[in-house]
């Protein structure tokens, strides 16, 4: 009746014998027709603008030069494309060039910034004392061979630790609420979380100042700074974690329920492990985002030149606040050099966290590592040869 009577088909019969692969047609090949108009227009634009700037018009300035080059390049490229093909092709190619140049622009901004901070910060960080001393006994006019930023490094790491300890568990829990439990409340919570990701940094600092320091009557210390960073970090972690949890395939949840697991078991044993690498990335990216925040520290951390390893007592400065003090409060030439040095140290901290986030995770849920893929391929080969499970 309902029973299937068809014989079990074995896998070996379904697999066709290997054939020589047919030569594939490459759909996305880059042709000379696409490359040379680009190169030619670029060269022509630069040459023409050079002639205009140097020989004809009384213009100077690097920025103007490159802006004119870009504008002329677009015009030349449009003209060349119009000669080859019709108007539709012109808009198509110009849109492609505009999109690509926006991405290049972002790359250039980051490259110039990192390059400039490294260049200006280099004199300070090459002195060993910059990494081991504090500014305790160093005046603003003393040379770079004295004083350092170790108090800021310790402060930043401890405040970041406090923020991470509070924001990551809470943020992931809130994300589980949004993605797994839901209900009437989920919508307002999601709206508020997204709105809070763009919360002005200074308001986070003011809030902790008004709550913890003015109301509870404590002094400025590392804990208050950590709490201010928590307020900044919580929405970032929550929103990104929810996206990660939603990428877990529903079929996995259904499989778990079909095996009789409760919701709690499903989340704990299926959803969270599947999204683990994504959640790690999200958390570490959140850390990288808040470690450089200056404004929340302005009211909460307290500025000090002394090393204070205890976040629960006394003012404890952080790296960004230290840069602010160097550049803003006592801007002598040496202090500005120190400011850039501290900027480089902060940049290194952010880059380490950022790279760690990419190395630790960065895979979509269910995406396999290279080793897992190799093992599956090997098992499939064994099955193909022997006709049974390895």
């Amino acid at each position: 009746m309902t029973a299937t009577s068809a014989p079990e088909t074995s896998h070996t019969e379904l697999i066709a014998p290997p054939r020589p692969a047919p030569e594939r047609i490459r759909l996305h090949a880059v042709t000379a027709d696409e490359v040379f108009p680009l190169l030619g227009s670029a060269a022509g634009a630069i040459a023409l603008v050079w002639v205009l700037f140097q020989r004809v018009l009384p213009f100077t300035g690097a920025l103007g030069f490159w802006v004119c080059c870009y504008g002329l390049f677009l015009i030349l490229y449009a003209a060349v494309t119009a000669m080859q093909s019709g108007r539709r092709a012109v808009t198509d190619r110009l849109a492609a060039v505009a999109a690509a140049s926006a991405a290049l622009f972002a790359l250039a901004v980051i490259a110039v910034q990192i390059g400039y901070i490294t260049f200006r910060g280099w004199p300070a960080v090459t002195h060993l004392n910059f990494w081991t001393q504090t500014m305790q006994a160093t005046g603003s006019l003393q040379p770079l061979t004295s004083g350092g930023v170790v108090q800021g490094m310790v402060g930043s790491l401890e405040q970041l630790g406090i923020a991470t300890l509070l924001a990551v568990p809470l943020g992931v829990l809130a994300a589980v609420f949004l993605a797994e439990v839901g209900g009437l409340l989920a919508h307002p919570v999601r709206i508020i979380v997204t709105a809070m990701t763009a919360l002005p940094e200074i308001v986070a600092g003011l809030f902790v100042y008004a709550t913890v320091i003015l109301t509870l009557g404590t002094r400025q210390d590392g804990l208050a700074a950590g709490l201010a960073l928590t307020v900044m970090m919580l929405p970032i972690v929550t929103r990104a974690s929810e996206v990660m949890l939603r990428m877990v395939p529903n079929s996995l949840r259904e499989a778990s329920y079909a095996l009789g697991a409760s919701q709690w078991r499903t989340v704990w044993n299926v959803v969270l492990p599947t999204a683990r690498s994504g959640l790690t990335t999200v958390s570490v990216l959140g850390m990288a985002r808040v470690v450089g925040e200056t404004a929340p520290l302005l009211f909460t951390a307290g500025l000090t030149n002394f090393l204070n390893a205890n976040p629960f007592h006394g003012p404890q400065t952080g790296m960004p606040l230290l840069i602010w003090a160097f550049i803003r409060i006592t801007p002598t030439a040496n202090m500005i050099e120190r400011g850039f040095g501290a900027g480089l140290v902060l940049l290194i901290m952010v880059l380490i966290l950022f790279t760690a986030a990419r190395v630790l995770g960065g895979k979509a849920p269910g995406e396999l590592t290279r080793r897992q893929r190799r093992r599956i391929a090997r098992d499939a080969r064994i099955r193909q040869i022997t006709g049974r499970k390895p």
Partner: protein
Amino acid sequence: MSQLADDAAGAAEDRPRAIATRVSGADLAFRAVVRAAGLLVLAITGLIAAFLVDRASSTLHAVGWRFLTNFQWILNDNKLGVGAILPDTIIIAVIALIVAVPMALAAALFISEYAPQWLQRPLIALIDLMAAIPSILYAIWGFFWLMPRFIGTERWLSDHLGFIPFVKVPGSYQPGNFEDSTFLAGLVVSLMVIPIIASISRQVFSQAPQGEREAAYALGSTRWGMIRTVVLPYGRGGVIGAVMLGFGRAMGETIVTAIILSQVFTIVTHPLQSGGNSIAALIAQDAAESTPAMISALIAAGLVLFIVTLIVNAIGATIVARSRSGLQTAD
């Protein structure tokens, strides 16, 4: 097997079985805990508002509604207000958006539509990195690197495009006239807004349905034609929301405006001219003078900023959420 046979035999009196899931105690506890975590986020936002109102009340009582219209910032006579600096804050944010929106959308389109597969991941990381670079580094880069290189351009704009309202800088030329300008601050802020708009728009664009893309191609569309008719209309809601979130972020940007601008208390009518202000910059710069009256005034200003950005952001977030982005679950 036999179970199935029995069921079929008794099909005459088939009744749907009542399916009542009994929620176990562990599940109830689990739901309570995660619901509490969700509520906590709401509570924190509420607390921020409550405490800011509480601490700002003495200033708000003394000044009243004129706090929104007063131009000066003189503590002693209670002549306090955000009448000038709130418009200034908005001007900076608008300048930032004028630069950031085309850039961010073009970059998002490049990542989701043009870039080859192997380039997408690094580019997404690049945009993330742009968001992760600390604001104070943007600020010192803008102040020490960009400003000296930018004064010439500002002068050129003022000299040659001065017929456009607001562009001309009055008075004879002095380099100091062009330093610390609102336009420069807006430009640096725009670089910090680009990653926010770009990353949300990219997510929305990449969710444009594959079938409709292929349909556009099948009808003979070029790639740009496909983007214009499929991707952009699909992503419109998400892009508008992303721009609003970027606007909120730009208004709240503190350190860049505090370091680049030299404070004035008038509404900026010539963005290329030196001098400007924003609420966040005002709070940051006066943070050191912590007399109780000053703190109360600063918190009142912070409250205005918080309310304005929260409204803008909440509208943006609602639009993003409506646009279906990030709400689906993969099957």
